[in-house]
């Protein structure tokens, strides 16, 4: 990738995210019909589900980079995997908070332990939150990079479990919108949702690029300080 495109990538991604998110929310509020069952509170769906899917994507991306580190051995993948998991944890926390707000207005409670999808997402979130404890409990170097990569790969197994559990086991409260038969919502809602999802993924990609650049500069400055000392 050329320096020109690498330097402009965060700008282009965040610009795309702004346009897509504003467009998606305009569609959600002014074009998509109000849900017959939940009413206005269903509008949370347009950010909650894209945030949750983005969290899964970040964890998956982190695991892919971890696999590349273990497979190829290039140390640059360690920082990329760590940054993706960092982003995943932020989006995971946002999923839990927006989900709790939606739960309160729809079900009358902030949280319920009876829902497998919620509990499995919480486990996934806590698993990846512990990644940082593992990472910083060992000294920097190949050993820490390998341990972190193995941990990141273990966590990715929880993603399909979390995603499919509610479909296999059935659910009482948490709605299942996407089934084997397709999307269980009107076309306008689906279109608004897809634009919001694209915007959220672009936002995560933009933040990932900015964060990665910051971490790389940090590492290079540390190296330079050691050379000058």
């Amino acid at each position: 990738m050329s320096t020109w495109s690498r330097n402009r990538e965060p700008f282009l991604l965040t610009a795309a995210a702004t346009v897509l998110l504003l467009g998606g929310l305009a569609l959600a509020f002014f074009w998509a019909p109000e849900d017959a069952d939940q009413g206005f509170s269903q509008k949370i769906f347009y950010i909650h589900v894209p945030i949750a899917l983005t969290a899964y994507a970040c964890f998956g991306w982190g695991a892919w980079k971890a696999l590349r580190l273990l497979w190829i051995g290039d140390r640059k993948y360690d920082l990329e995997s760590y940054t993706a998991i960092h982003m995943g944890v932020i989006f995971g926390l946002l999923t839990l908070v927006t989900g709790s707000i939606w739960a309160k207005v729809s079900w009358g409670q902030w949280w319920t332990w009876g829902e497998r999808q919620l509990v499995l997402f919480l486990i996934l979130f806590l698993f990846y939150s512990s990644y940082f404890m593992l990472r910083y409990s060992t000294d920097p170097g190949p050993r820490r990079e390998r341990n972190s990569a193995v941990y990141a790969l273990f966590g990715v197994v929880l993603i399909p479990v979390s995603f499919l559990a509610v479909r296999i086991a059935g659910t009482i409260l948490h709605p299942t919108i996407f089934t084997h038969e397709g999307a269980n919502l009107p076309g306008e809602m689906l279109a608004a949702f897809l634009v919001c999802l694209a915007g959220m993924l672009a936002l995560a990609a933009g933040l990932y690029r900015v964060e990665l650049a910051g971490k790389r500069i940090d590492a290079q400055l540390r190296e330079l300080r050691e050379l000058l000392a």
């Binding site: 929310l25 949370i44 707000i101 300080r225």
Partner: protein
């Protein structure tokens, strides 16, 4: 404002708040990196006798 509208607003504000918080963190980080780079430039100049 209905109860549903209040909760929907709260959910969207959480997202906005997170993005703004991230912006503040990045701004602080850029400031720190700028300071560190200035220190290293000074150290390099001293080392080279410039």
């Amino acid at each position: 404002m209905t109860t549903a509208e209040k909760y929907v607003t709260a959910a969207y504000l959480v997202l906005l708040g997170a993005v703004l918080t991230y912006l503040v963190i990045i701004a602080l980080k850029v400031g720190r990196l700028e300071q560190e780079l200035a220190d290293l430039t000074r150290m390099a100049r001293e080392k080279l006798g410039g």
